[in-house]
């Protein structure tokens, strides 16, 4: 218990009278103010309250533009005339709805419906009736404006993508803000119904792109017509983004796909800047910003080819023969093989009680590492895989970034899967079978990778192990062109692999494109040396007696995916690329020609191939 301090209480008596005076003054001040508002200005304020005269009008800011690396505009804002009605003002003049419906040629029930469904609206907040009206509609409305109290026609910025579906997955889309996003917004204040980035760059750079909305506080007359502005806040446009992609290259890449589905990513391997990013099928990025039609939405969501998915970072596929690069590196680095190690390929490899086949019927004969990569011999890599073992291969796959999210600044990136013995034990509760190592060593089985991950693999090889963070935005500028943010290259990791091994692999990849029997010959160019690797990702296991040349007779959804990963020029890589064609069959025939067009465009060379003997062509068309 504390001791009582009853002494010195007179201290408080002294201050008491000052406190009384202070508090008395404070209350007197409130009284004066109350008198002034309620008595002196009472009738004025009452009039304002009866007409509900003070209102707010929104004036949303322009969203920042998206530009390509050369400053060409990919996304901007165009003015759009929008029609609004103020429900409170319509109570006095119910005929306005009919009249507006007649002028705009829409059923009045539709307008009524819109007015009704606007829940939780601030009072006197205008309800949008029609957006983006035509010039003649505007003229009609404006000339009848005096007879239409409660009608507002306003210009609003509207997102426009001049190149349609170009790079739609990278750019992303806008949509109306939802309840959750409204709650989470901490610094930025959004109003209800605001458009917010939902996907792609529009989503990730939302805070930079959105400006500061403005508006006006106005006084209106009894019919809801503006008398005078009381306060105005000018909107401030959002910041512009300079993307890393090259418009011309992107266009070339999009066109190269024709009607095929799949993904393509091209990158500068020495900076990590993404030069082009294609995912097919694509979608028109502006559809979500306007009121999307039910059927449109349905056709996008229910499309079996997933147009809303960015396959380059969200699609996970077996890596196929592209993965032989990893198996080869694991073999060399572990010392299990040397460049001179030879295996005999008879067209199949008997292991356990099964025949594991090579893509080439009849086999490659006695073959060493260089040729095994150039001609993509499966049997060779089955045996390398058996020597090295699953876990060491997995370790080198991880070394290059497979099996985990790379960290590109785009939403929903997937991690893929790199199996290992402990992974399988955890996942399925059963041990790893060495037969599975065979599938794994040629990129089939449990292994899954995104096109971005194989791009990182090939870029790492091109760069002697160094991998840069893939980036899609180069810098952020304000409307005055001042640089606000810059994204310099970020070195992610350096694969712990010797220079000698890289040299060996690089030579082999060059051979795969340029040697007489190389599987990637469809990507070879006259003027520059391309290095690359084809691959085929199995969708289903085919019967053992199935001829791979019969692929065209298989239903499309069961056909293999085609891969190609490459870089060029061989001597001094300026572009690396990964292409996946869904159900495209073979890498050489489906994916490599697409890569070739893009590489040729970027390096500014003729996309023609050196002459090739006709018979090898046919053979290699079906190469893996």
């Amino acid at each position: 218990m504390m001791e009582l301090n009853t002494q010195r209480m007179e201290d408080f008596k002294g201050i008491y009278k000052y406190l009384v005076i202070f508090i008395g003054l404070a209350f007197f001040l409130i009284f004066i103010r109350l008198w002034s508002l309620q008595v002196l200005k009472g009738s004025d304020l009452r009039r304002l309250s009866e007409n509900n005269c003070i209102r707010l009008r929104e004036n949303p800011a322009d969203r920042g533009m998206l530009l390509d690396r050369n400053g060409r505009i990919l996304a901007h804002n165009r003015p759009s005339y929008e029609v609004y009605l103020v429900p409170e003002d319509l109570k006095v003049n119910p005929g306005v709805v009919m009249e507006v419906a007649r002028l705009l040629n829409i059923p009045p029930e539709e307008i009524e419906e819109r007015l009704r469904t606007q829940k939780r609206r601030a009072p006197f907040k205008p309800v949008k009736i029609k957006s983006d009206i035509k010039w003649n509609e505007l003229v009609l409305l404006e000339s009848n404006r005096v007879h239409l109290p409660g009608l507002i026609v306003d210009v609003r910025p509207r997102r426009a993508y001049d190149y349609g579906e170009l790079a739609s997955h990278l750019i992303g889309y806008l949509g109306e803000i939802d309840e959750n996003e409204l709650k989470q917004a901490k610094e930025a204040t959004y109003r209800m119904g605001a458009l917010i980035g939902k996907y792609g760059v529009e989503y990730r750079w939302e805070n930079d792109l959105r400006g500061v909305d403005g508006g006006r506080q106005i006084e209106v007359d009894a019919l809801g017509r503006e008398i005078r502005p009381l306060g105005t806040v000018e909107p401030f446009p959002g910041n512009n983004l300079i993307l890393t992609i090259d418009l011309d290259l992107q266009q070339t890449a999009e066109e190269a796909f024709q009607d095929k589905n799949g993904a393509l990513i091209a990158m500068d391997p020495k900076t990590g800047h993404i030069l082009a990013m294609v995912s097919k099928p694509s979608f028109p990025p502006d559809i979500f910003a306007r009121n999307i039609l039910q059927e449109e939405w349905k056709s996008l969501v229910e499309n079996p080819h997933h147009p809303l998915q960015n396959k380059g970072i969200q699609g996970q596929y077996p890596a196929g023969s592209v993965f032989k690069i990893v198996t080869a590196i694991a073999g060399l680095e572990s010392g299990m093989i040397t460049p001179n190690t030879q295996f005999n390929c008879t067209g199949a490899f008997h292991y356990g009680n099964r025949d594991f086949r090579c893509w080439k019927q009849g086999g490659h004969g006695a073959i060493s590492l260089h040729r095994a990569i150039v001609e993509s011999c499966d049997v060779y890599f089955y045996q390398v895989g058996l020597k090295v073992g699953v876990d060491l291969i997995a370790q080198y796959a991880n070394e290059f970034g497979l099996g985990k999210v790379i960290g590109i600044s785009l939403p929903h990136e997937k991690s893929g899967t790199v199996p290992s013995s402990s992974w399988k034990k955890k996942r399925f509760g059963v041990p790893w079978y060495s037969g599975e190592t065979l599938s794994f060593s040629v990129g089939q089985g449990y292994l899954n990778a995104t096109p971005l991950q194989l791009l990182m693999l090939i870029s790492g090889v091109a760069n002697g192990g160094k991998q840069y963070l893939p980036q899609v935005v180069e810098r952020v500028e304000n409307i005055y062109g001042e640089k606000l943010k810059e994204y310099p290259p970020v070195e992610l990791r350096r694969a712990n692999v010797s220079e000698k091994t890289f040299q060996m692999i690089q030579e082999a990849l060059r051979g795969a494109v340029n040697d007489p029997h190389g599987t990637g010959w469809t990507c070879s160019l006259k003027e520059v040396k391309v290095a690359g690797k084809t691959g085929t990702a199995q969708v289903i296991r085919l019967p053992e007696n199935f001829k791979r040349g019969d692929m065209n007779r298989v239903p499309l959804k069961f056909r293999d995916h085609a891969w190609f990963a490459a870089y060029a020029p061989f001597e001094d890589p300026k572009i690396s690329i990964a292409v996946l064609v869904e159900h495209g069959g073979f890498g050489a025939s489906a994916a490599a020609p697409i890569a070739k067009k893009v590489i040729a465009k970027y390096l500014n060379v003729e996309p023609s191939s050196p002459v090739k003997a006709k018979e090898t062509e046919n053979d290699l068309d079906h190469a893996d």
Binding site: N5, M9, D11, L29, Q38, R46, E50, P123
Partner: protein
């Protein structure tokens, strides 16, 4: 616990009566102000009745406990409140951009409300020993300042500028009450004034704008400025007699963002006019003066400072809130005691009144 029979004789019925009348008007007013709100679940005024009943129970319990007990545990209570503030920054719920709420089961509460009481307790504990000489000087003040700054920093982080300002004002009120040397006060004032431009430089652009808007709402014609003009229209349109119970239009239309909390007085002014407003303001006046008398008539220093701290808290809330809706005070989010909707605030106010009762009914006991 043995309760002294004399406690009942000396129970402060006036204080309790005034508080009950204000709270009852508050429920009626809330009923009218929120009548047109589209809400699912229990109506707000019923929830407020629940909070009031819970608060009254807590209040009576607190009143009958010998307040020396609070002196013994003052610092412990202070640290518990501080701890809750830290928790709120880690696990609190974010609503409209601020992280102020802790959720426990179906209830959520604002620890910052209880921090106000805990700071008053801690300061009363610190100052209950009289200064060696006739007043306190700077060298006595490091600990009290620490007691203020810890919770204030955490509350600013949420951010909740209104509550932080209340803590600051209550703190300085208590300093003046316990007699701080005028030269010391001047030094603090000058140091503070010198620090403002320095701190200003650290603020982000939007934070500066927000603070400037507090002082000049016209800078934000679409937000604070608009709310203020609607608040003035609401109150002014009430005139002398008011529009009558349930007949207000401005507040019901939802022009005001916090019609049930910070701007609740606008609804009162609109429906009850000058007469009703003056009646309620008069009740607050009585409440505050009654409390001030309890403070100076307390039988010991701890009781006096404790009671005065509560009075200061009530006064600043009332003065700033009503001043704000009338447009003579900055637009900071500070609720009006017993009138604004809010469970945590209702309970912390009634805890404060419970402490006043406790001091009041023991002033004749030795």
């Amino acid at each position: 616990m043995q309760i002294d029979r004399r406690l009942f004789i000396h129970f402060d019925w006036t204080l309790l009566g005034v508080a009950l009348v204000i709270a009852s008007i508050g429920i009626l007013n809330l009923y009218s102000a929120t009548a047109t709100m589209e809400m699912s679940g229990t109506p707000l005024y019923l929830k407020q009745v629940f909070w009031l009943l819970l608060g009254l129970t807590v209040m009576v319990t607190i009143a009958f406990i010998q307040y020396r007990f609070y002196s013994d545990f003052a610092y412990l209570i202070y640290f518990v409140a501080l701890f809750l503030l830290i928790i709120v920054l880690g696990y609190g719920i974010i609503t409209s951009g601020a992280q102020r709420w802790l959720k426990i089961g179906p209830f959520s509460f604002q620890p910052s409300e209880f921090v106000k009481i805990s700071l008053i307790l801690a300061l009363a504990k610190f100052f209950h020993r009289p200064p060696e000489r006739k007043d306190y000087s700077l060298k006595h003040l490091p600990l009290p300042f620490l007691l203020l700054f810890l919770p204030m920093a955490l509350i600013l982080k949420q951010p909740d500028l209104g509550t932080a300002i209340i803590l600051l004002l209550v703190f300085f009120s208590i300093l003046i009450f316990v007699k701080i040397r005028w030269s010391s006060l001047l030094t603090i004032g000058l140091t503070g004034a010198a620090a403002v431009p320095l701190l200003w430089g650290f603020l982000k652009e939007y934070q500066k704008r927000r603070i400037l808007t507090f002082f000049n709402p016209d800078l934000d014609p679409l937000g604070a400025g608009y709310h203020l003009i609607q608040s003035k229209i609401a109150i002014g349109s009430g005139g002398i007699m008011g529009k009558g119970f349930m007949k207000g239009t401005q507040c019901k239309l939802g022009f005001l963002p916090e019609q049930q909390t910070d701007f609740i007085f606008s609804a009162l002014g609109e429906e009850w006019g000058l007469i009703g407003s003056l009646f309620v303001i008069g009740l607050y006046f009585v409440l505050i003066f009654w409390g001030l008398r309890i403070a100076v008539q307390a039988k010991d220093r701890f009781g006096a400072i404790l009671a005065f701290g509560v009075v200061a808290m009530l006064f600043w809330h009332v003065f700033i809130n009503i001043g704000m809706v009338l447009g003579i005070m900055p637009v900071v989010g500070i609720p009006l005691p017993l009138l604004s909707y809010g469970g945590s605030f209702m309970i912390s106010t009634l805890i404060g009144i419970g402490l006043l009762l406790s001091v009041s009914m023991r002033r004749y006991l030795f």
